[in-house]
Symmetry: C2
Subunit: 409 residues, 2 copies
């Protein structure tokens, strides 16, 4: 899926990636962790050539992978330049050996880059509870060729059940200069982020000040990556990070800079585009579902209602079958705990109004047609306030079951 049309003042870089911003390099290799296949990659490094500021958010699961523990510690000071990632095996529930392995991965990347181990983040994604094949990783790191064109190889290396790589870049202008934001992400199962989603790494050559970078990234992730759901299951490895190296020059961007609005708009566009790409490529998915909630009492209730609808198996199967069974949307709102006034509420399937205080007579054929699109929009006004939220999900298909019924066997 292509990113949505860019808002005014922001231009998409055709063929862009996480290495489109100035001063970023990346590369990947096949180390033999994933099962072999033509063109497969499973170990990658993304790095800034100059010291960068970093902001990161991680899973809130009470079971956290060793890479999350180590990356959180390394990101704490706000200074990191690189991330090393393997796919195929996630380093979760491996005891103290897992922590040692995550540290060694940082050390291997740091040695290659000539930087401190504490300036490297690490991610591992795949099956839980198998030891990392460290010898393969030790032999793989030297094979990685870091280049300014390496963003696409890195995007392929971090995939698990993703059907295609997810990466992009966009430009914005601030203070008379052009800056670039790049991003790369992977999904696509165990997706119901509670803080950040799976892996999403964002890069920029804008000189963004650390406190502002942290606040803006957290708020943006909250409205984009944190608003998607594939299956309601929250990963133990969710990690999102942004690296800002300032390589495009200019004065530091803070919340008071004239360029702040442009930066925020561009970051929001990139993160929302990545979120939609992840949802659309949900395991087995054939359709992207966009849920828009309006008229909620509070922001938290709007978000809860939107996310509960995207996570509901009954809504997801109805969309899969193009079945205009809007009662399930009401059911999901009810389950979310969001307050709703059934006498004032309104509900639309695509453009078709189906409920306004009570059921509305509508053309079921036309409504079903709206559900046949590759992007399905469900919209509800809860009739109790003015808060709004948008969330993204995907349909539930027999293919989801097939993919997950024999993942390790």
């Amino acid at each position: 899926m292509e990113p949505a049309a860019a808002p005014r003042g922001i231009s998409i870089i055709v063929g862009g990636s996480a290495t489109s911003p100035k001063g970023f390099v990346a590369g990947a290799t096949y180390a033999g962790i994933k099962t072999p296949g033509p063109g497969k990659l499973d170990l990658g490094i993304l790095a800034s050539e100059a010291p960068a500021r970093v902001a990161a958010v991680f899973t809130r699961s009470s079971v956290q992978g060793a890479p999350v523990v180590i990356s959180r510690a390394h990101a704490r000071a706000g200074r990191a330049d690189a991330v090393i990632v393997n796919a195929g095996i996630s380093n979760v529930a491996n005891g103290t050996q897992g922590v040692r392995d995550a540290e060694e991965m940082c050390r291997l990347a740091a040695a290659k880059l000539g930087i401190e181990e504490s300036r490297v983040l690490v991610g591992s994604t795949g099956v839980i509870g198998q030891p990392l094949p460290m010898q393969k990783i030790r032999e793989g790191v030297p094979q990685i060729d870091l280049r300014a064109e390496g963003g696409h190889a890195f995007a392929r290396a971090i995939m698990t059940t993703d059907t295609h790589p997810k990466t992009m870049a966009a430009q914005f202008r601030a203070g008379g200069r052009a800056y670039t934001i790049g991003a790369v992400a992977k999904g696509v199962g165990m997706i119901h982020p509670d803080m950040a989603t799976m892996f999403c790494f964002v890069t920029t050559d804008a000189p963004v000040a650390l406190p502002y970078l942290r606040a803006t990234f957290r708020a943006t992730v909250n409205d984009s990556l944190n608003m998607i759901s594939v299956d309601g299951d929250t990963s133990t490895s969710d990690t999102a990070a942004i690296f800002a190296n300032g390589a495009a020059g200019g004065p530091s961007i803070t919340v008071h800079s004239p360029g702040a609005a442009a930066f925020e708009r561009a970051l929001r566009f990139v993160c929302t585009s990545m979120a939609m790409m992840l949802a659309r490529d949900g395991e087995g998915a054939e359709k992207l579902i966009e849920v828009r909630i309006e008229g909620a009492e509070t922001d938290a209730e709007a978000r809860a209602a939107a996310r509960t609808i995207t996570a509901s198996p009954l809504v997801k199967t109805a969309v899969h079958g193009s079945d205009a069974n809007w009662g399930r949307v009401l059911m999901a709102i009810g389950r979310s705990g969001a307050r709703i006034d059934l006498h004032r509420a309104r509900l639309w399937l695509g453009d078709t109004l189906v409920y306004r205080g009570k059921p509305v007579a509508f053309d079921a054929g036309a409504a079903s047609e709206q559900l046949r699109h590759e992007k399905v929009v469900l919209r509800a006004h809860l009739g109790v306030g003015s808060a709004a939220a948008t969330a993204w999900g995907c349909d539930l298909t027999p293919e989801y079951v097939h993919i997950n019924a024999d993942y390790t066997t």
Copy 2:
């Protein structure tokens, strides 16, 4: 599925139903609400011939069906003798007309039984947001033949996507007398109860005092019907009620009676058996999953962990594929928010220990074999305390998607 073996002092009544206790009658008819089919029933009444005490719990969804609103009001005084139920269309989101229709259903049953309208509960289950065909219900009620053998017909009349009726009865002794508890329930989609599940009506001829009946029923439902999940979606119509008519005689049973323990044990056995029947017949399900959590810090965390595991699509698909992918169980515990000490935690698939502070080498073939049973037991010790809980769910199959992708069309 047959009920589990009865605990000591409790005997299962072969072929028992909700009308097995003395003084209860039931009946059903085909009123034309469901699509026609051989032997189909869609409208039923279950009633005590003598005035009964009632305790009831309802969905906590913020979208509640009109029957829930009316039944809650009628149950408030603790006095009700009957319930009238239709299947095929659920009376939810139908505006003020829905409330009038629910009231009329109570009135129709009350007139037939010669009791006050306020002594009748009402339930409607099926598609949300279609008006009830009241003329068919008005014509159907006189066709219902109320008999002491009518429990099985009533059990069939309340089914929607259930593949078989769910009803049973068991006897216990208290104060030298024999008492009977009967029950009837329906599922089997939109099942992740947040208070009570779908419909479950329990009857007894024991003379149970009202405050004790209420407290015991609420606690028992909490550990049985509230611990099942089919798809994580909470119904707008969840209703569980117990009617106690005292027809078997004897002194009133209170919390201080010598018979209280026997009553509680029998009630728990019946409600747990119904819960397991509902989970096993989950839409598309091929296996019952029983999750036992031990060593949790608090009861609430034990319950949350157990329920999150049963609701996890990734656990459910792994069980469907008999895939010994135990990492997903850990993931679900993490998502539930329950505290876990990964260095002390233990995990079993059936009888096979797969994790003890770190992954344990185990025979994957043998573990997979444990997952091929019709009843699959997943057990985890969280290593942080002594609280425990048990929950029931089912596997997620392609058939679940097929059933729900075209439910209304």
